[in-house]
Amino acid sequence: MKPARSITPWLFLAPALLMFGFAVLLPMVFTVGYSFTDWNGFGAMTFVGLDNYVTAATDPIFRDSFVHVCLYIGATLVLEVLVGLGLAGIVSAVAGRMWFRVAIFTPVMLPMVVVAVLWSFVYNPDFGLVNATLAAVGLEELQRIWLGDPATALAAISVVSGWVYAGFYMMIFYAAFRQIPHEVQEAARLDGAGEWSLFRRIKVPMIRSAVWVGVLLCVTGGFQGFDLFFVLTNGGPYGATEIPTTYLVKTVFRNGEVGYGSAMAVVLTAIVLGVGLLYSRLSRQRASRPSEDRAVDVVAAGPAVVDRLVVPEQAR
């Protein structure tokens, strides 16, 4: 439709653009600007070119923080996406029993801080559920100070993350499973397929694009994880759970190194956008079948834009 006056669409857009521009786009440009300076947040700002990026590349804490977050992402791909896929397979095979889905999804509702404080008690060495359970079944020798031991802290946090998000991915995959035509499953059953082979050979391959969206969400979300880490360990013990987000918050807001922190923020942003780009490329190479549900379309929109920014439409 043509607007009555050419200014009309802009009048509708102006409030949203102003707010989004002021609170997101403008500070994003400034953050990139800060990353080329040495600045403590209020004194004089000195231009230092790429120095902060060179520092980041050689900073062992920053490098280790990426190792930690990658391990965490690897663990959550299993504990969230794979477990979620399994749970979705179970609930789609057993029909009904909505109460089960409702129960497993519950933690997604809660503030992460509340979850974190609760789990700090679950892991408490003196009265926590984990050690108490081990004692109850006679496995005292396995008791640990879960969050205070560098060998277990990262895994302990990953488990909490899995506890929260497995239900989330279950719901996404369950919704996708329900889009599969009934005839397909019936035909496979008539050919003698059991529930397991139906799940592995028919159902999962048919929701492949939803699974990839789950992987995308898990990876990009993992790089941005903060709340659980901050409340449970804040990088400790001995830096064993330091991830880029906790490190950059310390750098900027505790040490006042705004320039250096901004450079780390830019690196982190570039990685997240890079993952989105990779996803967009790979999903374009796969069959261009329409996705199963709206969630998939919305999630794919972000990466698609990054893709278009990198390679303009005409150049293809």
Partner: protein, 274 residues
């Protein structure tokens, strides 16, 4: 339903056991909130001797929980209202009109769908300090509103795109102005989309932690996540009080969730981009 291979009762039993194990941390949380500190240590699995709500009352009164809840409610309601109004108006323009610059604006909002918070919050915090916005509710309302807009614009545009063009042309011929097309025609038809956006944005605002931690130091303005954290550092070892505070924060959300679970699940999964 067609023939099922798994015997129903056995399946239900297995699922119930799984759900119970999964839910146990929350059951344990409520049980412990009725116990004394020494009982929490000595008999972690035992049922409480009585439903003793005194710790709950204490947590509520000394813990400022009511004030935190009010703050969360104000920030959430205002930011969600902004997201719905501004997002719907922008989505309307992007969906119904063809004009130069449209594709660019659409890309900006879509970029916001994948942009991590870390890409802008350092400078945003600095801007808010310069403008004197930190330690006011606006410091949370503005970013929550802005962060929610991307999803709102994108999702509502998808809904609007599905409406037939003839509907709008006919109303236009009947003499409706652009403003009327938006408020009297598009908005009512958008209701399901607005509900999805509202649920997703409300939960995001209610649960947001990082910005609330950085922008609000004044205890009287803290929202539930930062307020609860402050509470837990103030009463580090008073476990029955802390379990009570956790229960007070958690139980109302679970009740709301159980009542509206269909809408909430739809809202979170359709809205989830992060």
């Amino acid at each position: 339903m067609t023939a099922r291979r798994l015997p129903g009762l056995l399946t239900s039993g297995a699922l119930l056991a799984l759900a119970l194990v999964f839910f146990f941390p929350m059951i344990w949380m409520v049980m412990s909130s009725f116990k004394t500190n020494s009982a929490i240590f000595s008999t972690p699995f035992a049922l409480p001797e009585s439903i003793d709500l005194s710790h709950w009352v204490e947590a509520w009164t000394v813990g400022n929980l009511g004030q935190y809840a009010i703050n969360s409610a104000i920030v959430t309601v205002v930011s969600v209202t902004l997201i719905l109004l501004l997002g719907a108006a922008a989505a309307y323009a992007l969906s119904r009109y063809r004009f130069p610059g449209r594709g660019f604006v659409l890309s900006l909002f879509a970029l916001g769908l994948i942009l991590p918070l870390q890409s802008y919050f350092i400078a945003q915090s600095n801007m808010f300090t310069q403008l004197g916005v930190t330690d006011t509710r606006l410091a949370l309302i503005i970013p929550y509103g802005a962060m929610g807009l991307s999803l709102a614009v994108y999702l509502l545009k998808v809904y609007l795109d599905a409406l037939p063009e003839e509907l709008f042309e006919a109303a236009r011929i009947d003499g409706a102005s652009d403003r009327q097309l938006f408020s009297a025609l598009a908005m009512p038809l958008l209701r399901p989309g607005l509900a999805t956006v509202a649920i997703f944005s409300a939960l995001a605002a209610w649960n947001e932690f990082l910005l609330a931690l950085l922008y609000i130091q004044d205890d009287a303005l803290k929202t539930i996540p930062t307020g609860l954290l402050a509470f837990s550092t103030r009463y580090v070892t008073d476990y029955s009080l802390l379990f009570s505070a956790l229960s007070i924060v958690t139980i109302p959300m679970i009740v709301i969730y159980v009542v509206f679970n269909r809408q909430i699940v739809e809202g979170i999964t359709a809205g989830s981009v992060k």
